[in-house]
């Protein structure tokens, strides 16, 4: 450990990486990206079919279990991925501490609210309620 670690003794004792979460952000961004490479084209093709039959057609498509599951997975991965991406944009351009903290929090709230709205709608359409 002592011979191989690039951490200083103080940093080992503190047990924290420089950004306090190590490579977690980087890895989550990539894992969601890889998932979205598959999910986004499938969702896009499904959407292209779903918009063809007006209201009835849209309900028929979204209430198909496979489509509903696909949309839940896509929205879940997409909102997670875009929250991470927007976090980096905010951190890059907003240096003022309070503004940055408020925008980062807002980013989290918006992403989660969008997912809640999407998930609720997909499930409700699927259950025919």
């Amino acid at each position: 450990m002592a011979g191989k670690s690039i951490r200083t003794p103080l940093s080992s004792v503190r047990g924290l990486g420089s950004a306090k979460e190590g490579a977690g952000h980087f890895i989550k961004q990539r894992v969601t990206a890889i998932a979205l490479i598959v999910l986004v084209p499938l969702s896009l093709l499904t959407l292209m079919c779903a918009i063809q039959g007006g209201y009835e057609g849209a309900v028929d498509y979204v209430s198909n279990p496979l489509v509903a599951i696909l949309f839940l997975l896509t929205t879940g991965a997409a909102f997670y991925h875009m929250r991470l991406g927007m976090q980096v944009v905010i951190e890059d351009y907003i240096a003022k501490h309070t503004t940055r903290a408020v925008l980062l929090m807002l980013n989290t709230f918006v992403s989660i609210a969008l997912f809640a709205a999407a998930a609720y709608s997909i499930v409700r359409i699927g259950l025919g309620a």
């Binding site: 990539r30 990206a33 890889i34 979205l36 490479i37 986004v40 084209p41 896009l44 292209m48 918009i51 063809q52 039959g53 007006g54 209201y55 849209a58 309900v59 979204v62 949309f71 929205t75 997409a78 909102f79 875009m82 991406g85 927007m86 944009v89 351009y93 907003i94 240096a95 003022k96 501490h97 969008l114 709205a117 999407a118 609720y120 709608s121 997909i122 409700r124 359409i125």
Partner: protein
């Protein structure tokens, strides 16, 4: 930003000083398309909510997104999806340490731009010729 910046040493040259090159453009487009997609998800979620609200709400919403401005937003969203997807794959190869040679990076940069343009054109040629009703 200006409030906190009190370092008087000269700043490194920024985009105003760089000679334009395609890899720089693809990097800027990646961030811009990411931000556009963030905003575009509101339209998609709005569509899902409109379905749950019933037929008349759906028709109203379809009327808005099917208007000329709505279609422009949708075409822009599609272009952002296609570009961010293609350039995101390019980024993943870079993460694996591949594709950094300047000549090759320029080729892949143009490939992502061309892919986005062609894919968007194909999707919308299909939608505009075969979708009668939104």
């Amino acid at each position: 930003m200006a409030n906190d910046w009190n370092d008087t040493r000269p700043l490194s040259p920024h985009i105003m000083n760089w000679k334009w090159h395609v890899t720089m453009a693809t990097s800027i487009f990646h961030r811009a398309s990411g931000i556009a997609l963030y905003l575009g998800t509101f339209v998609i979620v709005g569509w899902l909510i409109a379905i749950t609200m019933g037929e008349s709400a759906y028709e109203t919403y379809a009327g808005i997104i099917g208007s000329p401005i709505g279609l422009l937003v949708q075409i822009g969203f599609t272009a952002a999806v296609m570009y961010h997807l293609a350039n995101g794959i390019r980024h993943l190869f870079w993460d694996a340490g591949k594709g950094y040679a300047p000549g090759f990076a320029n080729v892949t940069a143009w490939m992502t731009i061309i892919f986005a343009a062609v894919a968007t054109a194909v999707v919308w040629a299909y939608i505009l010729t075969s979708v009668v009703e939104f």
